[in-house]
Symmetry: C2
Subunit: 191 residues, 2 copies
Amino acid sequence: MYEQPVTFDFDMTTGLCMQQPGMVRHLSYMKDMFCDEQAFAELVKENPLIYTFYDMAAPATDLDLAFGTSICQPGTVGQEYFMTKGHYHEVFGTAEVYYCLQGRGMMMMETLEGLWCVKELVPGRMVYVPGGWAHRTINTGTEPFITFYVFRGDAGHDYATIEDKSFRKMVIEEDGSPVVVDNPRWKQQEI
Amino acid sequence: MYEQPVTFDFDMTTGLCMQQPGMVRHLSYMKDMFCDEQAFAELVKENPLIYTFYDMAAPATDLDLAFGTSICQPGTVGQEYFMTKGHYHEVFGTAEVYYCLQGRGMMMMETLEGLWCVKELVPGRMVYVPGGWAHRTINTGTEPFITFYVFRGDAGHDYATIEDKSFRKMVIEEDGSPVVVDNPRWKQQEI
């Protein structure tokens, strides 16, 4: 398919691709990822959409690039903002670029060695996620938080490490503003 | 620098990076690239800005990604629309992704084997340039044509092949609309 040039439309307001359905992640898919279990149990009855992203089927080679949009909905589970599951890349050292198209949010990042970093994103701002940094997008605003991402075609996703260990830090709403705090769910890496 | 996450702002209206100056290419830099030599000779006296792009100094490795915006100004040299020089990648099989943020234009692409392809870009549309395809952006609109691009950090640029051979096709304005025609400047590849 990608031996020939190809175009796709990702609407700049909704983030949605016009040629292909996205992968949707509702709250029930995020069990054990949010801190407040009681709030989770309550909200999961409605099971709201948390985020949408795309697998555009670019060839999984080191010469190709995977790309698409990530659309994280606004909202909180208790005090914790809606967010993506987050992942490392399977080809561990591969980087990723996210360009923010709409909304307001944060990229939460950390390494297995104990570094962490959070960057705020607004439309027009991009973040470079270097190789070896797990990353999760968090919607701290009131409208969908939309980014356009690109990574190496063969990078792959390791979700399991984050499912098991979570991130060291989390972003919660306090007095209407986002605050970065320690994540009680975080388990120390055994390395 | 890129061992840590980093952000940059690329204004969505102007395309300009707020942290670093761009690389500017005025018409005098584009000698022998436009078809109409007389129109070139006349316009080069004013030497207008043709395009701006960025080298954000991401590490030149196969794990990293190079990125930035390309901003092609509106205008023509004779009938031929303002455009970028165009290039192959030095690491020949590496792909590139362009996401259009503003304006209206075309991505002209071709291979050494004789395939060619042109795709129209409007805001929200992205084009996947597969490995082995030379590519050039062309502004067919009346405002700056702005794209955000990402490619592998070590891909590099081969401008010399296009400087020597040009592209098979070019885009000219006829009755106010863009038309793709044979490029008299094109020289057959010797392969």
